[in-house]
């Protein structure tokens, strides 16, 4: 299979099991440079696992993950650590280090890199916090537990952006936030993408996010509801196509309709 020139990340026949339970099965997915790919799907269908597989935070049970055309399995542990600095990752619950201050959280990867002096680190931390609408003089000395959920998400975004990554991965960036704060996060994703032509991969349930940021949408389907030979990615297209498709599985999800799901759950 010839790799397209713009593809920077690739999953090739990737499967992942946890114990006896398969979560991701034989997934082929490429991520194009400079575009925003949004992954949608029901809870438990393997979206977040796929995001972690893309960054090799978890290893595939079978198949191959490629970064910039090179199999991740062929990289040494040190090379992987270095390559990961090209990524930014916004975790679902922000995953801020609760023993560190906000300043230390945002400065973390800059200090790990050991190529910048303290003044440069200060400047970057202040700039990144400012970009997400936070004043480092106000929040810099606080611990994550002292911030609201929306502020923690924004700090998580500032931390992920600190190293000027080439690829940003967002795991349910608007989950648990009020509609206004959700839109703030969507705007920040959009601004980041537009400003630096960054490649973004967003896992979300939020169709407002899909409409706002997606260049391309793929939909995962739970393996429990698929036949043994059916592909797990049931849709691959634009956001408009996702809303207009005649595939009932996709249209039911994007419109948020329960359909006969309640009866199925009761029967189970």
């Amino acid at each position: 299979m010839q790799q397209a020139s713009g593809d920077i990340l690739e999953l090739r026949g990737v499967s992942r099991r946890f114990g006896s339970q398969a979560i991701v099965r034989d997934v082929n997915l490429t991520v194009e440079a400079g575009k925003t790919l949004v992954i949608i799907g029901e809870s438990g269908c393997g979206k977040s696992v796929t995001l972690k597989l893309l960054m090799n935070l978890i290893r595939p049970s079978s198949g191959q993950v490629n970064w910039w055309g090179r199999p991740v399995a062929s990289l040494t542990e040190e090379q992987q650590v270095q390559q990961r600095l090209r990524f930014g990752y916004l975790f679902q619950m922000a995953a801020l280090f609760d023993s560190l201050t906000i300043y230390e959280n945002v400065a973390f990867s800059l200090r790990q890199d050991r190529t910048r002096n303290q003044r440069e680190i200060d400047d970057i931390v202040h700039a990144r916090l400012r970009e997400v609408g936070l004043d480092s003089r106000v929040v810099g000395g606080k611990k994550p537990a002292e911030l609201s959920g929306g502020m923690r998400k924004r700090v998580g975004l500032a931390r992920a952006l600190a190293m000027d990554p080439e690829v940003m991965l967002y795991d349910e960036p608007t989950t648990g936030l009020d509609p206004i704060m959700s839109d703030v996060i969507n705007e920040l994703i959009l601004n980041t993408q537009q400003r630096s032509q960054m490649t973004s991969i967003v896992v979300t349930h939020d169709m407002h996010t899909v409409r706002k940021v997606a260049n391309r949408v793929v939909m995962f389907y739970p393996l429990a509801r698929l036949g043994p030979d059916e592909p797990q990615i049931i849709f691959d297209g634009t956001a408009e196509e996702a809303f207009e498709t005649c595939d009932s599985r996709v249209s039911q999800f994007v419109r948020g309709e329960a359909g006969d799901r309640l009866l199925e759950l009761a029967a189970a």
């Binding site: 650590v81 975790f91 995953a95 280090f97 190293m163």
Partner: protein, 280 residues
Amino acid sequence: MMSSGTVQCDAPTPIHLLGKVLVNFIVLMGDVAIFTVRMLRWLLRGWPQGNVLWPVFYQIGVQSVPVILVTGGFIGMVLAVQAYEQFALMHMENQLGTVVNVTLLKELGPVLAAVMLAGRVGSAMAAQLGTMRVTEQIDALTALGANPVSYLVVPRFLACVMLIPLLTLVADGVGVLSGWWFSSQVLGINSFYYWKYSRSFVSSYDLWSGIVKSLFFGAAISILACHRGFHSRAGAEGVGQAATEAFVFSFIAILAIDFLLGFLMMELFQILLPKPGLGG
């Protein structure tokens, strides 16, 4: 139930259960061994940064001092109380210091200090790392270009291996003093004879054998606690279980190491300082 010449087992027999326990134990041991090798590889690559190391040293070392003082203090007094009656029956009360101090330095000081630290430090480490695991903070470390084993496990290993022997020395010192105080002030034993017999029978080998044991106890506590924390299951129950397992596994490891090292050191002692008349 027989069918087509084969025996079908519907319920697991005790042999099945025993086999399962054995397999799980071997898998766990293998996993801990791999985890230890990974940790040692990162340790050899470089010393952790001070801003990572010092808070861990403070938590494990300084904050454990009160627990160790209490533990050491009571061990010395309990030993004096328990041994006094037996020695009094043989009219050997003046030699009480011998048994108190030998037992304290060689055995109970290191073991009880390690058990207390497994409870205080080991459980706390497992709970902290387990919480970091379930809140994705360990994944975040990886995503931000740090290796979690290097960043989290190596400093804890170093702190336990370097500080638990020191804390054991503190426990020994407090235990020796409390044992003497109780013997002389409460049981009425003459201090001169108490120390005279102690000096005659307690050797530096007793002290060093206890310290060597505590080095291994420290290593076992840190590795097992970090391993359980890294493999914590999700939720409060999962983190709680990781903390409990860290203590239970450490406790068993302390007893096993104590037995093995005690046996090896006894053999070593016989080789280095053979006693005439022993072993033909």
